[in-house]
């Protein structure tokens, strides 16, 4: 069979890949979208915690990656790496399925602040941190944020401290849950300016999709009605409707191939069970990598040839470096009264008073971040996270009563905050560990920058302050550890840094791999640093940005 040939092949159909597919297909390009995971249908997403939950699913979960998709992890170059399987806390797992992370995500849809795109100028030199201003300014990206918000259907209020915007959000907020009744007044008493959080969740019917029915299983679950704007239900169907895009699920891509002159000419992929079946060649004029910040570097590094002996785009040993995630923490309070209910999505309250205004204990200026309440939790979701006080019997009737009593008498605050990327943090390929297909696996080397703890400390204190003001009788904060070696989170970004200088970045300001004419990256890997908030909307704004440059390249 002659290899199929197409204008563009997009590898990975998640937050970034779905958007690129829609943009290119809408412009008339022939596009093939290859996704290693299954193509799940919204109607099949259910509410069995142990089966359908991203966080609590323990039993025959329908989404990938499967247990054979191992990785290795270590805290530093001198440590030996350990094998981990998907959904191990250190793995940094994002779902493998059509729609990728956006199928299971919480849909918090934040814009990054203007300063986030120029941290180097804002903070100056910080020892041990590899800060660099982005080659794109916030103002240049603003129309792309707007496009993402309008195409996905983002709901919420105007953020009083948010970066400037040309148009308001397209949809009013999704309704509150009862937590809002105690949190909004308490925040206002503290002098803060709370607002309804931006969510990529439809509050009204929008562009052919129905409004959220406010079920209690949102974050970590697929949305049964398609109101959560994953790329699975928003842009990918639009791409397919053009007739120009072919979506191939269960198709794993191993490498980008090059022709006799060293120019990339397509990819090699395999469908079906890992390790079985033939590798197929797909020819393409343009290759766009959207596999996430932990898989795109692997694909580049596994694309070795006589022309690229160290891997594609890796002549200067930059691929995979600077990988990072925003800081994330939970603080919860126990209350005497019923303060929460069972109505989804739950997140409705946000505060952004602190970004680039906060000061640390020694007076140093901080990036700090955003705090919000959290998604509605099922019983196990609550119990897994709650820390039973020492004065409660560790087993028996007392324990059971504690769980029952506080299930609806607790509020969880979630804070995200700025972090400081380190050059030594990296995802590369393990020299000795291979997957079932015989391919080198991702190896993650990661340790927190010491300053991350200051940012987290600041946000944990703000959360505590608010919960006390709201009347919590017990407040439980996480123990914050300096230079924690814990692994990368689902908010992973930065491993193929965008920059003007090929010495210190992997792709240029258009998303094109330095020194290669036709290979682009459009996923979390691009972001030179995390922000004080969840990354998906920024990944998607950049996917529009990169798409517009790919279209101009023709």
């Amino acid at each position: 069979m002659a290899p199929i040939s197409t204008d563009a092949v997009i590898v990975g159909s998640g937050a970034g890949g779905g958007i690129v597919a829609k943009e290119l297909a809408s412009a008339g390009w022939s596009v093939v979208l290859l996704e290693r995971g299954p193509w799940l249908q919204s109607a099949g997403f259910g509410h069995v915690e142990t089966r359908d939950g991203w966080v609590t699913g323990i039993y025959r979960v329908p989404f990938g990656p499967g247990p054979a998709e191992i990785r290795t992890v270590r805290a530093g170059e001198s440590d030996s790496a350990r094998i981990v399987r998907p959904r191990d806390p250190l793995y940094g797992t994002l779902p493998a399925c059509v729609g990728g992370g956006t199928v299971y995500y919480g849909a918090m849809a934040w814009r990054f602040h203007r300063e986030t795109l120029r941290l180097r100028s804002h903070f100056g030199l910080i020892p041990g941190a590899n800060l660099e201003d982005w080659p794109v300014t916030y103002d240049a990206l603003e129309p792309c944020y707007e496009k993402a918000e309008y195409e996905l259907g983002v709901s919420g209020d105007e953020n009083p401290f948010g970066p400037p915007r040309m148009r308001p959000l397209p949809l009013p907020p999704v309704g509150e849950n009862t937590e809002a009744r105690v949190l909004f007044p308490a925040a206002r008493r503290l002098g803060w300016k709370p607002f309804h959080t931006p969510l990529a969740i439809l509050s009204q019917a929008y562009r052919g999709r129905p409004a959220c029915i406010r079920c209690a299983y949102c974050n970590g679950y697929g949305c049964e009605v398609g109101a959560k704007s994953s790329t699975l239900v928003s842009v990918i169907p639009q791409a397919l409707a053009t007739g120009n895009c072919r979506l191939v699920p269960n198709a794993f891509v191993r490498e980008v191939t090059v022709d006799r002159s060293g120019k990339p000419d397509g990819v090699l992929f395999q469908t079906g069970t890992p390790g079985k079946g033939a590798w197929q060649k797909l020819r393409a004029r343009v290759v766009v990598l959207c596999c996430s910040a932990t898989e795109t570097p692997r694909l580049l590094l596994n694309s070795r040839s006589r022309f690229f002996p160290r891997g594609l785009g890796n002549e200067r040993d930059q691929v995979g470096r600077n990988i990072d995630n925003d800081g994330g923490l939970f603080v919860y309070g126990l209350f005497g009264d019923m303060v929460t209910d069972q109505v989804g999505p739950g997140v409705c309250f946000g505060v952004d008073d602190f970004q680039f205004r906060a000061r640390g204990r020694e007076g140093q200026s901080l990036g700090a971040g955003i705090l919000s309440n959290y998604h509605t939790r099922g019983p196990l979701g609550f119990i897994r996270r709650v820390h039973v006080p020492e004065n409660v019997q560790p087993f028996g009737a007392e324990l059971k009563n504690f769980y029952r009593k506080y299930f609806l008498r607790s509020i969880w605050l979630y804070a995200t905050c700025h972090t400081y990327p380190r050059y030594e943090n990296r995802v590369d390929v393990d020299p000795s560990v291979r997957d079932a297909r015989g391919l080198p696996v991702s190896r993650i080397t990661f340790r927190q920058h010491p300053r991350n703890a200051d940012e987290e400390q600041y946000m944990a204190e703000r959360c505590e302050e608010l919960l006390r003001e709201a009347g919590a009788t017990v407040v439980v904060k996480p123990l914050i550890q300096r230079e924690s070696p814990q692994g990368i989170s689902t908010h992973q970004v930065g491993s193929c840094r965008m920059g003007s200088d090929p010495q210190s970045s992997v792709v240029d300001r258009t998303g094109r791999v330095h020194g290669v004419p036709n290979v682009y990256v459009a996923d979390g890997s691009l972001l030179p640093n995390p922000g004080g908030a969840n990354p998906a909307l920024t990944i998607q704004a950049l996917a529009y940005w990169v798409s517009s440059h790919i279209l101009r390249s023709r």
Binding site: W39, Q41, R51, R60, P67, N250, G378, P379, I383, L479
Partner: protein, 201 residues
């Protein structure tokens, strides 16, 4: 970053950092096959009913009869029947754990349980002069109390096994029909069709 394991788990929830079972290396062969099969046909998810009770009839798959009986007693002492709802035994928790262990991708969890139950027996022998199944309910509670005494900083093997026992018990119970609906009276499993999307509209 949080240090404490529970809170560490919670730290990135939107992230799966908190995932416990898969994290302990426990993925089942069936899961692998399921995913690979799902990989070939992109069909809507089959609506499998996977609740603790569903496993009950065929047990035990991994435990011996005595071990299963011990696990029934231990789990029911952790989450007992009270005025409000039935406990772990009625919810089929032991059979659920048995099923999960039988299918585990790794050998390690099975070893942890087999060794752990032997230790419980040995501890009971030491404390009360008889095996766990022969001990009185009060004596059994005393054994569990001893195992639970350093819950947050377990040192001995028995103390470490308690954490595993409790984690599995709670996971199984609060994902069972009884745990979710009777005990917690949670309604989230039903879609709230009556809600309009937006309060103002």
């Amino acid at each position: 970053m949080p240090n404490d394991s529970d809170l560490h788990e919670a730290a990135h929830t939107d992230a799966p950092k908190e995932h416990a079972d898969a994290g302990k290396g426990e993925l089942t062969r069936r899961e692998l096959i399921g995913i690979a099969a799902g990989a070939i046909v992109a069909s809507p998810l089959a609506r499998l009913e996977i609740t603790a009770a569903a496993n009950q009839e065929q047990a035990p798959h991994f435990f011996s009869r005595e071990e299963l009986e011990m696990v029934e007693i231990l789990t029911d002492r952790i989450i007992p029947t009270d005025d409000h709802s039935p406990g772990a035994r009625a919810a089929g928790v032991a059979a659920y754990i048995d099923g999960r262990l039988a299918e585990s991708w790794e050998e390690q969890p099975r070893k942890v349980w087999r060794d752990g139950l032997k230790r419980v027996d040995a501890l009971c022998q030491k404390m009360h002069g008889q095996p766990f199944l022969k001990a009185t309910p009060e004596q059994q509670v005393a054994v569990l109390s001893r195992m639970a005494q350093n819950e947050f900083h377990p040192k001995s093997e028995e103390e470490k096994f308690f954490a595993e026992l409790k984690r599995r018990t709670v996971t199984a119970y609060y994902t069972s029909e009884i745990g979710i609906h009777k005990e917690m009276e949670y309604k989230g499993n039903t879609l709230l069709k009556e809600f309009a999307g937006y309060e103002g509209s």
